[in-house]
Structures are given as C-alpha cells and as structure tokens.
Symmetry: C2
Subunit: 295 residues, 2 copies
Amino acid sequence: MIAVDWGTSSFRAYRVDAAGIVHEKREAPLGILQVHGGQFAQALESQVADWIGAGEGPVVMSGMIGSRQGWHEMPYVPCPADADDIAAHMGRVQWDKGREAWLVPGLVTRDAAGVHDVMRGEETQLVGALEQLGPGRHTVCLPGTHSKWVRVEDGRIEGFTTHMTGELFAVLRDHSILGRTMENAGDDPASFDAGVMRSGEPGGLLHHLFGVRAECLAGRLSAEQAHEYLSGLLIGHEVRAAAPGSGTVCLLCSEALAPRYERALASRGLVAHVLDPDSVVRGLHRLSQCIGARA
Amino acid sequence: MIAVDWGTSSFRAYRVDAAGIVHEKREAPLGILQVHGGQFAQALESQVADWIGAGEGPVVMSGMIGSRQGWHEMPYVPCPADADDIAAHMGRVQWDKGREAWLVPGLVTRDAAGVHDVMRGEETQLVGALEQLGPGRHTVCLPGTHSKWVRVEDGRIEGFTTHMTGELFAVLRDHSILGRTMENAGDDPASFDAGVMRSGEPGGLLHHLFGVRAECLAGRLSAEQAHEYLSGLLIGHEVRAAAPGSGTVCLLCSEALAPRYERALASRGLVAHVLDPDSVVRGLHRLSQCIGARA
C-alpha cells in the first residue's frame, strides 16, 4: 500500500508492505497550502507515480488533505469511534486513468456544554497507537500547534479536547510585545520549570503572559530565559486544564517536545509514557486493511 | 502648563490653565515608534514651540516617552504610591536654549510570589481620576491592549495586575488561524455574551480559543459572530481572573470598550461605574502643581 501523511505544510509518502513494513519514504514541500489550483492529483503523481505504476495500492491519505481546503472535504466522524468506525467513513477521490486514493475522515466531539471540538490527522496517529496502548482506559496527549488530549477506552476514541498552545506560543513570539525581548537559545529547564510553576499561581493566563514582559523589564528574565519561561507557562496552563488528577499520560509527539511535557506532567505528579511517535504510518496501514471489504 | 500624553503610537498635547481648563489641543502621529534617531525635542517643538515661546509652562509628559525606548528612561516608582510620591519622582529632560520638560515615572508592584508588574501612562490617568474616586477602597479597571486592574485606597495606588487581553485579541485576529474565519461587523452583544459565558466553563483559555475555530467549522459561529465571541471569551477570562467577588468596579476607558466590560462585569454580578475617560490631562495638571516646590 501507499500511505500518505498530507498536512498543511508537508507531504510524506511511504511504500508499505502487507506486514506494515516501510520499504521507501518520500517527502516534499507539497503541503496543501503549497499546491495551487487544486492540482492535488498532479502533486501526488509527481511523488509516487512509479509506485502506483508498479501496481502498489491502495493509496490511503490522512491529514488536512481531507479538509475544506484540501482535495475533497471529508465530514468529521462523531466520537466515540474506533478504527472500524473511521475506516467505514473513508471516501475515495478519483482522477485520470481510473486511478484512486482513499481519504481518512477527521473526528468531532462535543463537550457537556455542547461546544464542538475537531481533529484531522491525529485520528490516524491514534489508530496507529492503539495496539501499543492495549485495552483499558488511557489519556493520550498529542502536543503541538493544536495539542490534543484524548480519552481512549478499549481501542475506542471516546472524546478529546484541543488546546491552542503551540500556535499561541508562535504568534506571541513572532507578533506580540513578548517576542521583542525573547530569544531562542535552546534548552533551559530551570526557566521552563519556572514558567510551569507560574501557571499554578493566581491571576490567570492573560496576567501571567504580561508577567513575562514585566519580569524582563525588571531584569529578572533574560531574553533567552523568557523564551523557555513562556513555553513552560503555556504548557503548564495546558496541562493544568487538560490532564487528569493522577495516573499516567501517554505522549505521542516528536522527541523535541516530549521532555517539556514530561517535566510539566511531573510537576503535577503525573507519569509520562512516551509512545513511538511514528504511528501515522501504522494507522494508515491499519485503515488500509479495512478497505478490501469495501472496495 | 502644557500637558503631553505621549505613547507608543500617538502624541497629544494640551494647553491647560491654572484651573485645569484645556484651551487648546494638538494631536500628531508622532508616537515614540514614529520618532527616529531620538529626535524627541524636535518632535515636541514641532507641535508646541509657539506655546513654549509664549511662556506657557511647565511641560509635563507621561506615557512611553519615559520608557527605555523613549526620550529618557524614568525608573518605576514602587507601590503603594499616591500623587505626591509620583510627583516626587518626576525628572527633567533639557534641550536647546535651556528649555525643559518633566517626565512622569511609571509604577511597579510585586505580587505575593514576588513577580513584578508595571504600568507607564496609566498612573497619570489614575492620578487624574483620584478626585472622582474619593476616599475609601476602589477597584479601577483600565481596559485596553494591556488592561490594568488597580486597587486604590484613600487616594493611594496600592497595587495592580496587568492582563494582555487587548494585545492577545489583536495577534489572534491578525496572525492566528482564528483570524481566517473572523470578520468585524460591529456590535453583536449575543455573541459577546456567549463568549463571556464560555469563559466560565471548564477547559481553560487555551482550549476555549480552539473552540472558536471548531464552532466555526461546525457552522455554529459565523465569521461576524466569531469576532465578538472571541472578544467576550478573552474579556470574560480577564474579568474572572481579576475582578473582586462582589461590589463595584470603576471603569476608566474609551466609550467603545466600556459597554463590553459592563456586560462582562454584570455577568459576574458586579456593578460598573464608568469614570470620565479624559483623566490623563487632569492627572498631568495635578502633577504639574507639585513642580513649583521642586523646580
């Protein structure tokens, strides 16, 4: 099969055998924002025409390629949903010479107040991680631009909440007054921890954010420290709002982000269990196995 | 006297008589970010040279003109501080022909955890509002880019907290994914109130922010509604974190912002008392009266 992880700013394709082993990988700056005029079929062929020509299939794609701005909009599947529910809502796009590819739908959930939350792409990562998780109840956190906190029970995605942590960090760094006195100098666990600790003090996030500025003016945070302090502050607020009161949180993220979340979780007495981050290919492979019955 | 309200992006000068009556007002796009090469004396003279030449004085200036990026950095005066304390820390800048102007210092406070907070410019607005406030304890809110919540007792500024509400709204509108599905169509109290109500539900601000996006995708918020909903969400979070549990909050802000804060305060059972927003000139006039003894 051909597994395609197609997001806003990146395109990754994998040639995967029946056992789920990846034989080849291709990556290109062909995120959906870089593909103009809806030329998605051409973009896909430019990367994997030889694999398709050699008879490889099916092609299964997930991520923003299934959004309104992508190739074809796939409606969100309501939670609770397991891998079979997601697979049952996959849809096909077709182009020249009868070629076709499958799109994985996103998920939607509603909280007690009826407010919606959505994911698109993460559902495939979760499907790929279900085997590692095993039966029982789990809290899975997928940190990032829009961090997801997911309740999984016996292989079923029960519901989730999204936190705009990564995006807020980026817009504050690049466009707010905080960015003017901030410099990324890499790891600084002490400043990160100070930000996490601050997140638990009174005043709320909007006040804590201005405190980054005030502490810089008071000479108590350097530009380098402010960067990590702000990161700790935001992740601290996220973890306080999203994490359960006790137990283990499974982390599904890059190796760069995992240590930050581990520290923030530890500050709340929570244990982090870091999952294999390459779960999206496993998820696409798992979902491809459901296609035979439908095609 | 000549009262100058000199901020990051605006310059306003007033010719004021001994009784505090404004006789003339001038405004120019000469905020400190628009004045290059430190040419502040020239900028000031370009606006009020005729007033100075006619013997008007003293010149008293407040706002970011007294910051590190301004004409001359004035250290922050620690709270608690009253008008006399602030006046006692005013400083002078001098230029050609022995001309001079006074700068009002900002204020600094520290919370129970030792974290700093600062204001620069608002202290002058507060001095100008003290007479209206009268004796006793008051909570004064100055909404804006960096909203200030100030505890005043018997004419003394006891302490304050800053909330980055206005700036966060602007960066999210202009630079985040939320701005893509948001349009300012003016007043929409129902959407604003829905945002305020959301601020009191579980999940925290980082989650509520993503909810704006999800509710738009779900077709439950239009682009116009999302604008006011986000405003209500942020102001709601600010008021929940900053306002006292009961009583009256004095509002010192533009007529555009007051109704929003009145609505958010009312949702918490708090009464808003809207102060005369033109207090900065009164504050500069009041502080100028302390100069005679020092000059």
